[in-house]
Symmetry: C2
Subunit: 592 residues, 2 copies
């Protein structure tokens, strides 16, 4: 069975040496000294290793069971959910007024990582609850906040997001679920929603569904969509539970992965609902929490890769097979461990160098969200909006790819379900799909984000990379290993963006034909830039003479690997982009 250990030293490196959190002026960050964050991470790590990870495989095997439209989570998940809730882990960044600890979102992200790595399907119950909490906190009236937030903050009640319908996912303007206004100010919600994670279960007394629906007579299409709070159990004035509402689980989906999460068809039959935010502004309400939700999914992608990597590494050190081409390394044994073989080492380095940069980049994104939410920092908001498609789309595409590589190291043993490596692949797969399929992320990036504010955020990013390169032009080794590859990749990114600007004017298909390639090109630039900055931080650690030399040297070597082996992908993506729309759109639909 797979095991998991929270990489606390790596997380601490990102928080304190890469981001230098306690030196930042974001509210709440000065309290985040290394001892404080270490204490949190160690507890989160213990819970993850000892309680959550051991139940990951059984959650996959038992899956959620359905009985006449009612469903329960796997038996194995009950105890840890309670442990996680009772430990206050679900409320780490919940406002103190609603019973939480009021820590920054960055700390929620850092404490959440080990739990996602250890048991993604189970973590989703609290992740969705966190989403519902955030939506109501931002858009709710005072009365709504008072009613729902304390229970959601503590995870006593759990939350869901209801967007998709059988005939529409990406194109929510086609939505049919309707919300009919009542005289008392409530609405009656009717319709069917599908793919509702954590839609029904027996772990909480109540489930608070956030539901997108159309108020009859409103604007056509996406502009006529409103957001509603629809609880499973109606709630009395004193917040005690009342009658069952008109919402029921119609079926439990049999999925490729995340079996431990109950993905439901939810049927709404004149269910009582309460408008959240303004009528017809439901999509805008969803957008305000979108960066955060998508960052959470991006994290799932590489957190699964991290867990898969840890197990692949252990296997590569343990499994004896063949002899090193440069001479026997384990003369006492019948064969050398897998890790002596260069192609195995290449695969492990692919995984390691991706995971570490993905973590640092995601945490940096979380710090931008804190600046945006806590300080109204418009530049941070613009930057995280630009980079959200990278965090969600690129990191989940790559995270999945790395899970496949980790599984591959096990050979045939990786294909056997009892080994657990297949689960990482199957669970990571969903992160490429939900919360906006990755093709939609690429479309959002190229079709919207690149040109946002006249391209200013993109120019800011390019400028920041340029400044970094200029400021680090002295050290010849560093220039060769980090600055030159970064410059070259960044130039490819600019050239691709220029191609979009020039050709996109004449033919929008020319830009959109290269959208996925651009998302990957830019993703490599972002992770390359992240590695260059991490290598600087590691150099500082070495220079200080106080830390663990091996740790810093390993960090720098891992960064060098990423620059040498991953950044060359930017030229391939650029060539594909510059081939334009012609090859992509050449065939008539009937010619396929």
């Amino acid at each position: 069975m797979p095991s998991y250990t929270a990489p606390i030293r790596d997380i601490q490196f990102v928080l304190h040496e890469f981001l230098r959190v306690s030196e930042q002026d974001t509210p709440g960050y000065t309290d985040l000294d290394a001892d404080f964050t270490a204490a949190i991470l160690e507890e989160a790590g213990k819970l993850s290793s000892a309680v959550l990870a051991p139940l990951n495989l059984s959650g996959d095997h038992e899956a959620a069971a359905s009985t006449t439209g009612w469903c329960a989570r796997p038996r194995a998940s009950r105890r840890p959910s309670t442990r996680s809730r009772d430990g206050g882990w679900t409320a780490i960044d919940v406002a103190e007024e609603f019973g939480g600890q009021g820590l920054p979102y960055l700390m929620h992200t850092a404490a959440n990582e080990p739990m996602v790595s250890a048991n993604m399907a189970l973590n989703m119950y609290q992740g969705l609850t966190h989403g519902a909490y955030t939506a109501i906190k931002i858009h709710g009236t005072d009365a709504q906040k008072a009613c729902w937030l304390p229970k959601l903050g503590s995870c006593e009640w759990t939350g869901t997001m209801n967007l998709t319908e059988p005939h529409c996912g990406t194109d929510l303007g086609l939505m049919r679920t309707k919300a009919v206004p009542q005289e008392d100010g409530t609405y009656r919600i009717s319709g069917q929603k599908i793919f509702i994670s954590a839609g029904e279960h027996d772990m909480a007394e109540n489930i608070v569904h956030l539901v997108l629906a159309k108020i009859p007579g409103g604007p056509e299409g996406i502009k006529g969509v409103s957001l509603f709070v629809v609880p499973k159990m109606l709630v009395n004035e004193d917040v005690s539970l009342g009658a069952r509402n008109g919402v029921a689980c119609g079926a439990l989906e049999d999925k490729m992965g995340i079996h431990g999460n109950a993905t439901c068809v939810m049927n709404y039959d004149e269910a009582e609902g309460y408008l959240l935010g303004e009528a017809h502004k439901g999509m805008r309400a969803m957008f305000t929490m979108m960066n955060e939700a998508r960052l959470g999914v991006g994290l799932q992608g590489w957190a699964q890769s991290e867990a898969a990597y840890q197990n692949a590494l252990a296997y590569a050190k343990d499994r004896l097979q063949g002899r090193a081409v440069t001479g026997t390394k384990n003369p006492a044994g019948p064969a050398d461990p897998l890790i002596v073989h260069p192609d195995i080492r290449r695969s492990l380095m692919d995984q390691k160098s991706f995971n570490e940069a993905a973590r640092a980049f995601t945490y940096w994104g979380a710090s931008m969200i804190d600046r945006s939410h806590k300080m109204g920092d418009a530049q941070a908001e613009a930057m995280i909006s630009l980079l959200t498609p990278i965090i969600k789309g690129f990191l989940t595409d790559k995270g999945f790819e790395m899970c496949v590589q980790a599984q591959q190291i096990f050979g045939g043993h990786g294909y056997i379900e009892d080994g657990g490596m297949s689960q990482f692949v199957r669970d990571a797969r969903i992160a490429m799909i939900y919360e906006g399929a990755n093709g939609v992320q690429a479309l959002d990036l190229v079709g919207r984000k690149l040109a946002a504010q006249g391209g200013k955020p993109m120019m800011t990013l390019i400028e920041e990379i340029k400044v970094f390169c200029k400021e680090n032009a002295e050290d010849a080794d560093f220039v060769r290993d980090f600055i030159e590859p970064l410059k070259s990749a960044s130039k490819d990114m600019q050239q691709a963006a220029m191609f979009f600007m020039q050709s996109g004017m004449k033919d929008p298909d020319a830009a959109l034909s290269g959208s996925t390639d651009f998302m990957h090109l830019m993703g490599h630039v972002c992770l390359g830039w992240t590695w260059a900055r991490m290598a600087k931080a590691a150099q500082a650690g070495l220079a200080s003479g106080t830390g663990d030399r091996d740790f810093y040297e390993t960090k720098i070597a891992t960064g060098r690997y990423y620059m040498a082996r991953q950044l060359p992908a930017t030229k391939m993506h650029l060539a594909r982009i510059e081939s334009g729309a012609a090859p992509v759109m050449a065939l008539e639909v009937d010619a396929f």
Copy 2:
């Protein structure tokens, strides 16, 4: 539920316009005129679409059931296996003297493709039987052939391959299963084998296991391995069944995919076995059938991709979501079909351009095997040996990737098991692992095949591409679209091979660190070359003025896509390769 239609026009194009089979001097090829092969393919297609494909999903869901060490295939698989057998499909290239049709291996490959696309797990029963047939045909005594081949040729009895043990897969020298010689010339086989596909089931009266084992006192390691025939039921002189042999299924593996095939732990307890070929030459016996076995697995990779693509294409034409960026294409409907979106088109073209080239390249490989086996053509044998790692490793890596892309087009619906898209991904995944994991294929390519015969086969390949480019330097459009990209990619391949030669002398790790990248680089060159030749064939079709213009124009446009969008990968792989061993091997094992 997914559906499948055999792409007969595409297969016919490969056989008659690309390979021009009936003009070749390979024995049996002159009989393969277009009417004859069409008749075979149409029947194979009907069986695949109407019988095998509809049972693919139920085979996945039911899986093989285990009862006290005995197991049965999914109920759904019984009928079609019989149909496939009774129709003579399993014996298409079985020698006439053993009851087969004696057609070339190429025709077996072409008729097999639809069956693999339609139902890979089920097809494996006959695929493994075909392997056992081939091994005994090549290495058996006349008496052995007479005893086993008629029943294996007809699939009345099925076959298996027993190589892997719990502690060894790639490194078979570590094998512990032993074969003790008896006075009557038979052996007693004892040991445990794992991952045995089709190891136990109730579809045939007998199962003929081919088992690798060590004769005590023989050479150490891989040089002491011998191959044995070990039937489940002992066979009397008159080929009637005798007593049960000492072999039993110990457990059925729960796997990520190919659920419809019974993957077994097989326990041998003094089972009666018969030496096949020479003692201690078991690996050599395996090698003689390796190119064929690996070609079969390579075909599985892209045949799954073909089936997944057909369903993704149908969905992309049917599913209405969003509007085309260049203006509404389906004004009568609430939205445009997915296929109008450039990123969806890009994904479909990735799949289509890969599948078609993979097919042509594999069939070309099968024609080389025919030349090798039927004519003793040493150059063909050398060429297929060089390219087998590409067919097996590259085509299965890419085939899996394309299945993931096809699944992605379905969005959330692709993640639901009832939709069947997950099955293509999960089934295709095994092809990257078994029959030599793809890392081992890359090692075989770079560590052995490149340097074979002093590099002569590789030089022949390069020379053939060069000649092709020279012979087609007239048509400016063709040069721009096909010859230039092919030349450039081929140059990258030569440069990479040169790097291996130069650096590999000093440091073998430098070559092996780039082995997987080289396999992919060379794979793109091979498929690019295949596309250039297919485009020539399509041009000839156009020039003849007799065929379907749309078909030929689509073929050329699909080739252009591959050249423009896929061949740029060679530069990325070259850059990675030329970064050498340093980044890959930088970390000490303990530093991971």
